[in-house]
Symmetry: C2
Subunit: 242 residues, 2 copies
Amino acid sequence: MKLTVVGIGPGNEENMTLRAVKALEEAQVIVGYQVYVDLVKDRYPGKEFLTTGMTREAQRCRMALEEAKKGKAVAMVCSGDSGVYGMAALCYELRGDSLEPEIEVVPGLTAACSGGAVLGAPLTHDFAVISLSDRLTPWEKIEARLRHAAQADFAIAIYNPKSHGRPHHLAKACDILLEILPETRLCGVVRNIGREGEQAELMSLRQLRDYDADMFCTVFIGNEMTRSIAGKLVTPRGYRDE
Amino acid sequence: MKLTVVGIGPGNEENMTLRAVKALEEAQVIVGYQVYVDLVKDRYPGKEFLTTGMTREAQRCRMALEEAKKGKAVAMVCSGDSGVYGMAALCYELRGDSLEPEIEVVPGLTAACSGGAVLGAPLTHDFAVISLSDRLTPWEKIEARLRHAAQADFAIAIYNPKSHGRPHHLAKACDILLEILPETRLCGVVRNIGREGEQAELMSLRQLRDYDADMFCTVFIGNEMTRSIAGKLVTPRGYRDE
């Protein structure tokens, strides 16, 4: 029947779109990474749930496509957006030139937006989104992107600042940024967006270098205009009275 | 009472989050740019609506803050996200060091995500978001950001590709990108996301240069891996069977 690739946002129901909720309600089978399926499982009793482990993305997408080909309504859940670091592209890749099963992509709140809202408004102006995971991307390429983003005065949202086997990536990334940006550049970290233990902290780029981030953190680097206003991380766009 | 800055996404109700719907339902006053208020007005009868014209952002935010200070529940609507090119930052700026009225930022689907989903999955990997509006940003800075984004092999989402008084910005931006990227680089344009007349087109960067975009378009430039799969714009992240 149809595979719907659903961005569920940061994890709590209120940050899901009506369209995402509807897609899960209408699905017979919900497929996903174990951790994300656990986020929605209790809200959708009576569904069939299929999960795979952390690095089994291709297996997961193939499984979802197969179930849909059998005639089932299948929803594949992705945390955040279904596109941004999500599974939509891989589903299209694995389906290839065929148009069967139908694929629908339902967007969701990515951490740049949901985490930005917790911190204040750090991404009001042009920005870049960079993952520090070098599992699928050479570290040299990540370094080059950090450099260009800093040189271009983009605000930056950093995903995957740390994970198993990559304990020092955030510090390494900050060292690169510190070659270009001042130590005082204002940054923010948000943890457990929209979940229990949600937490936001503002700090300088120098402090961020030694911050103990974990895999539930999203990191924001301000641009040259970013400042702290009443405890919030705010990047002005430059609106004036006209 | 409280000012809630609400990202309403691309415009149709199904792309709003549950939290955004709730914020509008609970508001006594809904404030916004006329065009965005018109998108939600019919769905929330019995509210007080306050609107201002296109470049009156500061006036609009002041009005919203004043209404909240009077003890009303106020929702300020922003198209897309409340942060990304939205009004959240300006509300914090205008409130200044005070903590009154309370401000809550409710994130919404930005066009990078909602438009990406219409085209396929162009932003699976690191990406940059750049507005071509030079009303508040010097054109030289926009040019520099385009150059750095291309050099860093970011996929790029371009907002405000054209507007009154800026008919040639997209062509100018493409000329800059064409200094670095090949003419064949795959791009996409999406128009009227989530609204009547929604439309997606794939084309080369060379074709994009002469494309007649309007202010309802969001433009996507692929990275070096982006390709067309069964009519969709897809940027692989590089997942393989493991």
